[in-house]
Structures are given as C-alpha cells and as structure tokens.
C-alpha cells in the first residue's frame, strides 16, 4: 500500500488524477473546485505529470475540449462547481450521448441566486438527467479512491460513459485529513490503459455526434438508457476489485446500524458521517434508528436500496437541494418512486437542509428524528417536506 499522508482533500484528488496518468485536463477555475485544477496545472508545469493542461476560457469550452480529447482516445479529466457546471450544461448532455468516458469531479456548490459559493447539491441535481454515471463521496479517502474508480468504470469498453464524482465543496475540498495513497503498482493493477471503443482518427474516419432524425432519435435514447443501466455490473466489479486491492469495500448503498431499525436516515455525500454520530446518540437513547447512504445515484441502485430498507417503517430523507413547488427534494422523490409498489411501504419524511453551506450538526439530525416521531403520528404526504432550520 501507499503512504498515509496529511493533505488537503483537493490536493489528494489532484494527486490521484496524476497517478491515474491522465492525458488531458481541460478546466476553468471556480470556487470551491480551484485547488484541484491549480494543483494539476502545477503538476503539468513542473513536469511531474505528462499531460496537456488546457486553460480554456470557460466551462463550456472545457467540456467541449474534453469531448474532443476523449474522442481521439485520450484519458480526459475536468472539474467544476455550480455556475461552472451551469455554463457547461449544453455539452454535459452531449458527452454521454457520444459515449465519451470523461471523468469530472464536481466540487458541489449551490447554484445562484442568491449568489453563494457554499456547499449543497443543487448543481448536480441540475444535470441529474444528463446520462452521466453519478457517485457521491463521503470523506477524503473516499474521494481519492473514487478518482481511480471513475476512470476504470468510465473507460470500461462495456460502459464507455462519462462519470461525475461528487465531492462536497469546502466540507471536503478544503479539509486537511489523513489519506492513504495508492502505490503505483496498485494503480497499475486496478486501472488498465484506455482503449476506446471508437476513436476519431484520420486513417479510419467515423462520425461522432451525428444528427439524430426523428426516425433514429428514440432508438438512440433507448440505447443510451440501456448503456447506463448496463454499467452497474462493471461498477460493482470495480468496487469489489478495489476492496480486494486496498481493503476498502464500497457499495452502491451503504448501511450503518440498520439491523432491526424501525427508522433510518438516508443521505448522500459528506453529511453521512455526521448523521452516523446522530444515529449513535439516538441508539444510546434506546431509539431504533439506523442509516442508509446512497453512494451510487446514477444508475439508481433500485435492488440494493429496496434490500437495505426492507422491514423499515420510517425513512428520514435528507435532501441538499430544493424542487420548488414540487414533491419535496429530488432524493426523496426518487426514494418514494423506488418504493411505490413495495408491500408495507415505509412512511417518508423529507428534510431539506445544509443549503448553501448552512452547517448541520449531529444535534440537528436528532431534532429531525424527533420531528419525524411527531409527524409519523399523522399522515405524511409528498408535499409535506420541511426546509429545516429556517429562522422565523
């Protein structure tokens, strides 16, 4: 195994991109993603990473460059946040349709307005339906490991789709913590060279990103949907193999103290660790509480999720984004859909919290549990979501 070092998570993620021996990095700096691309730019300038660093003039260009470089068979990385993702949006939808295995770290930050640079999940939810594989990371180690994972899954010939690795802005990107690096031998064993399924090359002309007339568009979309669904076995294998190599076994849906739990919290990303502490405190009070964490967001892990909550009476869904005037947060909506036909469907309460950097403590999650206990006495409808912590 590699060395255990104290390092800022952003720098560790950039080092992981370097170790993955990326060929092209095209990115535009934006808070809180900045340290990742700054460090990659340094590594290239210092000759430590033999790659093209393309300092584009906007995120729209960043993703356009990524599409071009990935199409010729270069291992390609980009990184953005919030407004950067919004500016990139047009091309974000094109990459998966062209089956280009680009890896993007999204340092999650709220979308304006009001203007905010702080963390929540409104940025990623804006491209939820873009067709990218989407995963969430919980801590620095997790982020480091999942850089390798993302390249391996994206570039697998049976997948050939882009991957977004979500990493909470500031809460992860700006924290210094211990991270166990991989040694070069481990990276080599885990991550094969990129062999594209199709490659743009003058000697063998092909068309990519062609016009999709009504006669073929639906079929193209069906194929794309199937491709995303079919990525799951590769994803599971990539986690299994990583576990065998480095001893950390990740899963699409992870659980904590769920045995016999009547109520479970469900969250995505870095808040999961603080929720775990709340679960421990509630358990100590004799409450029947556990925790379920969604690591894989697309393709949605229906089977594993239903299995994880089997027998649970109550789910407290933590959302980090708002669906204005809709059925609660985006995660809760999907959780309800996933369970709609299940027998003994649990009651679902939905808290929208930690918006744009509002700190959420273990005590806050305990308060949400207590509120849920009260709510569960009545009928909880879809529109009964709570924006938690509003000062009135």
């Amino acid at each position: 195994m590699g060395e255990r070092v104290g390092i800022e998570v952003s720098l560790a993620a950039a080092e992981a991109v370097k170790m993955a021996n990326v060929d092209v990095v095209a990115a535009y700096p934006i808070t809180p993603q900045t340290h990742i691309v700054e460090h990659l730019s340094e590594l290239v300038a210092d000759g430590e990473l033999d790659a093209e660093f393309i300092p584009v003039e906007s995120e729209h260009s960043a993703m356009s460059v990524c599409c071009g470089s990935s199409a010729v068979g270069a291992r390609t990385f980009t990184c953005t946040s919030s407004q950067g993702l919004a500016l990139m949006n047009e091309i974000v939808f094109i990459a998966p349709s062209m089956r280009l295995p680009i890896v993007m770290i999204l340092a999650n930050r709220s979308l304006s307005g009001p203007l905010s640079i702080w963390n929540d999940h409104t940025d990623v939810m804006s491209i939820r339906d873009s067709g990218w594989i989407q995963i969430f990371t919980e801590n620095g180690q997790d982020a480091f490991d999942h850089v390798m994972f993302s390249f391996r899954v994206a570039e697998n010939p049976a997948v050939s789709l882009p991957v977004i690795m979500n990493m909470d802005g500031f809460v992860l990107t700006h924290v210094i913590e211990p991270i166990e690096f991989w040694d070069e031998e481990t990276v080599k064993r885990y991550l094969p060279d990129f062999e594209p399924v199709n490659r743009l090359h003058p000697d063998n002309p092909v068309t990519m990103g062609a016009f999709g007339l009504p006669g073929i568009f639906t079929e193209a979309k069906k194929a794309q949907d199937q491709a995303l669904i079919n990525s799951k076995p590769v994803i599971l294998k990539a986690w299994k193999d990583m576990g065998d190599l480095v001893g950390r076994y990740y899963k699409p849906v992870e659980t904590y103290q769920v045995e016999g739990a009547e109520t479970v919290f469900l969250s995505m990303g870095s808040v999961g660790e603080t929720v775990s502490i709340a679960v421990e405190e509630l358990r100590a009070q004799g409450k029947s509480v556990g925790q379920v964490k969604l690591r894989l967001w697309r393709p949605f892990p229906f089977e594993e999720f239903r299995e994880a909550v089997r027998g649970v009476k109550q789910i407290i869904v933590i959302d980090r984004a708002i669906t204005y005037g809709g059925p609660g947060g985006p995660v809760a909506s999907e959780i309800r859909s996933a369970l709609y036909l299940e027998e003994n469907m649990p009651t679902i309460t939905n808290f929208l919290c930690g918006l744009a950097g509002r700190d959420v403590t273990a005590e806050d999650y305990i308060a949400m549990f207590e509120k849920t206990e009260q709510m569960a006495k009545g009928k909880v409808r879809q529109e009964d979501y709570i924006i938690y912590g509003v000062r009135e």
């Binding site: 104290g6 809180p32 640079i117 809460v171 210094i176 211990p178």
Partner: protein
C-alpha cells in the same frame, strides 16, 4: 477527541496553524482534521480556523462549537469577538497578549484557564514581522499537549523552508515564555 478553534485575522496564518497541528498529529499516527471558516479569504477581517485531533477516525463534519482550546492570534480580537463562546468548562484560552492572565480575567470576565504569551513581540524579534501563528503553536502546546512538542518540527521545516529555523525559534520561545493562569 480534542477540538481547537483558532481566532485571527485573514492573512495572519490561523489556517496554517490548524494545518500544522493536524499534520503533526497525522504524522504521529493519529487522526486529525484542519479547516478554515469556509468561504472567500478576507485579509484583515476576523476569521476562524478549526482543528480536531483524535486517536480514531474523525467522522464529524460540522464546525466546532464547543472547543477544548481557543487560540487568539491577534490581541485586538479579544475585545472584538466573544472568543470563549462555547469553550468547555475545563477548556483553556490561549491568547497572544502583553497582559497577564490575571489582567485578562479581570478585564474580559473570563472564567476559564488562560495561557498568555506576547507572541507579537517574539515574532517581531525573531522574524521581523508581527505574524504570530507559529508562536501560538508553541503556546498551544504549553497550554495543552495536544501533540508532542517535537512532532511540530518536521511540519514547520516543510512549510517554511528557508525561514523554518526562525519559525522554529519563535515556536520554541513562545512555548517557553507562555504563562499559565489556572
């Protein structure tokens, strides 16, 4: 777990102090987190940095509200910010000040244990600049041995390169000159 909150002004190196403590702890095989008040950097404005140290993996991801140690890099902050807010009863305030612990207790009504050192004077004499972050690291270790004294030497060397020796001198002097008021 030990939680440390560092008050300073943007540009005074509070984040670096938190980072160096965390690196020292991690090098010792412990677990640690260091992080700033999240947001834009604001030179001169009162800012806070945080550090947690534990023997097991740290999972909490929220800010620090009930610290064991509060550190004040800038004497002016003592009168601007309620620095002991949330400080645990058996916690300690570690202040850069020319006054004694007794004087501070009287003037500011502080009930906690206090560690005092004139870090500005030491920093001016040794590095020629009133940058007190490395001095206050020495003071923290005198107040509470959160990591062994020697464990900071390597991180200080790595961070400060050519001016490392001066900073180690500052760190050592502040450790020696810190006065404890129970």
């Amino acid at each position: 777990m030990i939680e440390i909150r560092i008050h300073g002004r943007g540009g005074q190196g509070g984040v670096t102090s938190a980072e160096l403590l965390a690196l020292a702890a991690i090098n010792e095989g412990k677990y640690a987190q260091a992080f700033p008040t999240f947001g834009p950097e604001r030179r001169g404005a009162p800012v806070i940095a945080f550090c947690r140290i534990d023997n097991k993996q740290i999972r909490i991801r929220s800010a620090i509200y009930t610290p064991d140690v509060v550190v004040v890099l800038d004497p002016g902050i003592l009168r601007l910010v309620d620095v002991t807010s949330g400080l645990k009863e058996d916690g300690i305030l570690c202040a850069n000040t020319k006054y004694s612990g007794k004087e501070l207790r009287k003037e500011l009504g502080i009930k906690h244990a206090i560690a005092t050192v004139n870090a500005t004077k030491i920093a001016r004499e040794e590095i020629g600049l009133p940058i007190t972050n490395t001095a206050m690291l020495g003071s923290i270790l005198k107040a509470r041995e959160v990591v062994p004294f020697d464990s900071l030497i390597d991180p200080l060397k790595k961070r400060f390169g050519q001016i490392a020796e001066k900073n180690i001198k500052v760190f050592t002097r502040a450790y020696e000159e810190t006065q404890l008021t129970k």
